[in-house]
Symmetry: C2
Subunit: 215 residues, 2 copies
């Protein structure tokens, strides 16, 4: 394995270990030693990639948006819907994503770590997609992209949090289906509504199609 | 002052101090000693009312719903709207409510404290109001009260959290106005929509009317 590839793998192993530890213990109680033990890498390797706990937390926080990668769709609104279901599904089986979400949401995360950053990154990504949806004529003329996007990010955050508190995220798909059934009619032109797939198992199906495409 | 009244005041002083300390430090870092110092009561008085930190946290968590008290309105949906704006406004100036919200939202709150309880309490209260709204003919026939209520509680939770992370809740009123502009059209019969007040300063105005009524 080339040196660069090995470095990328080591960095990823550290990030995944850090995400899992942050998810379980939160920012304040997490120590570099706990991450070292979980990642099974040397202290030198860890400090080479991340000079401090703050740096680790920032890196974990910046990993959220890639988890929202979905296949392109003729309808941009379907892609936005898909992102929410895919992230919801991945929250159930990916500890790095869960740790990143916990760091963003927990009030204990110190402001030096900039835990607001993932909210802004999601907002930028979704605004891009929503503006494309607008250019394709998918949106009602009353939609203001920035405000709608902030509503989606805020609602998603709270819905996954409530689902975690009540059912350990087992019902997150159903909750997202309810969210879309209430919000889409004030976003999409009416003709689009019957064709948009917002069923609770959408995330499972999109992830399966991604896996088929990769294999 | 009668003994009972004094006990009620002491209990309230302890709760308010505990809320403020939980808001600032979170569950894990809060100690009984910190609450004692903030409340300026004796150790005996505190333990008389709350035998443990868990008991304190549970009491703080159960204080949320009373902050949603609003004046009755001819239209029940307006009352539901008002609750969200009033709680949003009170989050900005009431540390007990903020501490209660932090305990409900932070993942570090131990499961023995039952931090899901406020979500369920809000859901019960809102379901009551939404069913009354249905009986008065305010709702579209497609509304399923339980699902809609869970959406509202989840969205509110995430929106206040995002507003805290980005602007220390300064823009929470605007964000709630956006939430309602997107969700009401899929809940209320169309004839009601123009008459519902969902402007960003609704919370300030409702609280002022409550204060006038009390004075």
């Amino acid at each position: 394995m080339a040196r660069q590839e090995r470095a990328i793998r080591t960095r990823r192993a550290i990030l995944e270990a850090a995400g899992a530890v942050f998810d379980e213990y939160g920012y304040a109680s997490t120590t570099i030693a706990m991450v070292l033990e979980r990642a099974d890498v040397t202290k030198g390797a860890l400090y080479f990639h991340f000079p401090s706990k703050e740096a680790l937390a920032r890196a974990v926080l910046s990993e959220q948006v890639p988890f929202g990668a979905v296949p392109p769709q003729p309808c941009r609104l379907q892609e936005i819907v898909d992102m929410t279901f895919v992230v919801g599904q991945r929250l159930r089986d990916n500890a790095l994503l869960r740790g990143s979400m916990r760091l963003a949401v927990d009030q204990e995360t110190p402001s030096g770590v900039d835990h607001a950053e993932p909210f802004l990154q999601w907002a930028r990504r979704l605004t891009e997609l929503l503006e494309q949806a607008g250019a394709k004529g998918e949106l009602l003329p009353t939609v203001r992209a920035a405000a709608t996007v902030e509503l989606l990010v805020g609602s998603f955050t709270g819905i996954q949090l409530m689902s975690r508190a009540l059912t350990d995220r087992a019902d997150l798909g159903e909750r997202l289906a309810v969210m879309w059934s209430h919000i889409l009619p004030s976003i999409a032109v009416p003709g689009l509504l019957p064709g948009l797939d917002t069923r609770a198992d959408r995330g499972v199906r999109v992830l399966a199609s991604l896996e088929r495409a990769a294999s």
